[in-house]
Each structure stands twice: as structure tokens, then as C-alpha cells.
């Protein structure tokens, strides 16, 4: 089937196909790519590992705080309360440090 749709559906088709390729790539092929990339490959893996660890820590220490933000993000109330993306991102960090969150322009929680 040939898709003649707009860029969005064409991009969706491409991304889905490339994603499937990456998921199905044989392990030795990925290992070779990693080896060929040398130090940059190691750094990339460390970067992703650190990101995963941060998410694990955030989910353990601050799941309640982030869940609160996520709940309101889907309802439009985040906009009403002026919860910015930066604040949400900050919430992730603060939650990990056990800090108490405050809503911009509203009472401290």
C-alpha cells in the first residue's frame, strides 16, 4: 500500500518502521556499532544508564509528587494553576531530594 498522506502520517510510517528495525537489530550488530563508536558509545550508554537511574530514584522517592503533577497535566488544570514544563521537570529533581513543591503563583504545599 502506498501512503499519499500528509507529512505527519508519512513520518509515523517511517518512525514505526525504523523503530521496528532498531528493536529487531541482532545483538551482535548493535555490539559492533557500539564498539565502532568507541568512547562515544560508552559515554552514550552511561548517559542512558544515568537517566534510567534518575527515573528509578524519582519513582521511589517522589512518585506521589510527580503523579500529582501528571494528573493535573492531563486535565488542563496544570495550565490553570500555571504549572510550567520547567516546574514539572523541577518537580522530578526536587522530589528526588525530598523537597516540598510549590505551585507557581499559588500557596506553597
Amino acid at each position: 500500500m502506498t501512503r499519499t498522506g500528509n507529512p505527519h502520517s508519512r513520518l509515523t510510517a517511517l518512525l514505526d518502521a525504523l523503530e521496528a528495525e532498531l528493536l529487531a537489530a541482532p545483538a551482535d550488530e548493535v555490539r559492533n556499532a557500539l564498539r565502532e563508536a568507541g568512547r562515544a558509545g560508552n559515554v552514550a550508554c552511561q548517559e542512558v544508564r544515568a537517566l534510567l537511574n534518575e527515573a528509578i530514584a524519582a519513582s521511589e522517592d517522589g512518585s506521589a509528587a510527580t503523579a500529582w503533577f501528571d494528573t493535573f497535566a492531563g486535565t488542563g488544570l496544570d495550565r490553570l494553576f500555571g504549572i510550567s514544563k520547567e516546574l514539572r521537570a523541577g518537580a522530578r529533581c526536587h522530589a528526588r531530594n525530598g523537597a516540598i513543591l510549590a505551585i507557581k503563583g499559588g500557596p506553597a504545599l
Partner: protein, 211 residues
């Protein structure tokens, strides 16, 4: 009503029973204890443990997928924001990990839906009208971002004619056989081209900085 796996999470799991019998779930205190046979309960999947066990190869795949998916997102959402959010949703159970699906495929799906959600949020925050009958596809801003992403991805393969043909075929939703027939590629040429595409996606983004 919560399903069995949710109940297992809330109440805690005790098992196996005496003598290695069937695992059981116990709820309540003292004599008001309810015991549920866990035979019918699908085993809970520990996302944290599975994440910790990911190999370096899987981390590289995950990074490449996140970079692809983040390429056309609004409001400067980066690949690391996208991946972090997906992992967090998986860890908190906001997005349950279905049985029979690999962790990477599951996270890729979560990133895909976060992308759609991000566009909806973007429209709400900027008071933009919801797309009409054509749905998301008819959002002009999203279409523009998609066109830019398509151009950037094709640019990645600008020096590889065969790869460009395969990419164009994929963009047009063609199946493998159709691509081969349409562009006159042999089975071997098609397979080696796909391998080069994968290698480029896995490796090239380590040197090439996506905005």
C-alpha cells in the same frame, strides 16, 4: 474494581504457601484475612529490575529510538525528557507493562503515546484549535514539524542511494517486497541496506547532534 495484579501490588504478596504450595495473596488483619489463590494472577513484572538488567546494546537501542521519537516534538521536549517520562510512567505503573511484550518495545510504545500527548498539551497551552475531522494528521503545526523531521532523517542517508530508496518506500508505507520490486533491489541488496540503515541510526547519532 482493581484487577488481581493491582490487588497484589496493594496488599503485598505472600508465597509460596506451606510446603511450597501455590502462592497466595493475603489481605486484612488477624482473623479477617482473605487468602486468594494466585494461580490465576499473572506474575507482576518488575520494571525496575528489568531496567537495571538492560545490556549496553539495549541502552543504545533505547537511546536511538528516543532520539527518533523526540525529533518532531513541540516545546523543545528532548529525547532524554521523553525517555525519562516514559520510564517514570512504566515504573509508577501509570502505564502497565503488558505480558508478552519486551521492555524495549513497551517503552517505545509509551514514548510514542507521550509524543501524541505532548502535541495535545501544546495545543491546549497555546489555545490552538483541535484538529478537525482529519484528526492529528490535519494539525498544520504538527505537519510542519513532521516535514522537517522527515527531511532531517532523509538527510542522514543523503550519501546512500539504496538507503534513501528504502527510506522513501517506508515513508510511503510500502512493505519490504513492494520496496524491493519498486526500486529494483535484490533480496541481498535490500537486507544489506537495512543493516546500513540500522547501523547509521545506532551509531551516527553518537557523532551527529540532533537539535
Amino acid at each position: 474494581m482493581a484487577d488481581a495484579s493491582q490487588q497484589a501490588k496493594e496488599w503485598g504478596r505472600y508465597g509460596p504457601g506451606p510446603g511450597g504450595a501455590t502462592p497466595r495473596l493475603m489481605r486484612g488483619v488477624g482473623r479477617f484475612v482473605q487468602v486468594i489463590d494466585l494461580k490465576a494472577v499473572p506474575p507482576e513484572r518488575d520494571v525496575g529490575a528489568a531496567l537495571a538488567a538492560l545490556s549496553e546494546e539495549d541502552l543504545l537501542r533505547l537511546r536511538a529510538i528516543a532520539r527518533l521519537r523526540a525529533r518532531s516534538l513541540p516545546d523543545g521536549m528532548s529525547w532524554s525528557d521523553l525517555l525519562h517520562e516514559a520510564v517514570l510512567r512504566a515504573l509508577t505503573g501509570a502505564r502497565p507493562w503488558p505480558p508478552g511484550v519486551s521492555l524495549l518495545a513497551f517503552l517505545a510504545g509509551v514514548m510514542r503515546s507521550i509524543g501524541d500527548e505532548q502535541w495535545r498539551r501544546h495545543r491546549r497551552q497555546h489555545d490552538l484549535p483541535a484538529p478537525g475531522d482529519g484528526g492529528e494528521a490535519h494539525d498544520p503545526e504538527r505537519a510542519c514539524a513532521a516535514a522537517e523531521a522527515l527531511a532531517a532523517i532523509q538527510q542522514l542517508f543523503a550519501s546512500d542511494d539504496a538507503a534513501l530508496k528504502v527510506i522513501k518506500g517506508l515513508i510511503n508505507g510500502m512493505a519490504a517486497e513492494e520496496i524491493r520490486r519498486h526500486y529494483g533491489l535484490t533480496a541481498v541488496e535490500y537486507d544489506t541496506t537495512r543493516r546500513r540503515i540500522r547501523r547509521t541510526l545506532l551509531r551516527y547519532d553518537l557523532a551527529w547532534s540532533w537539535p
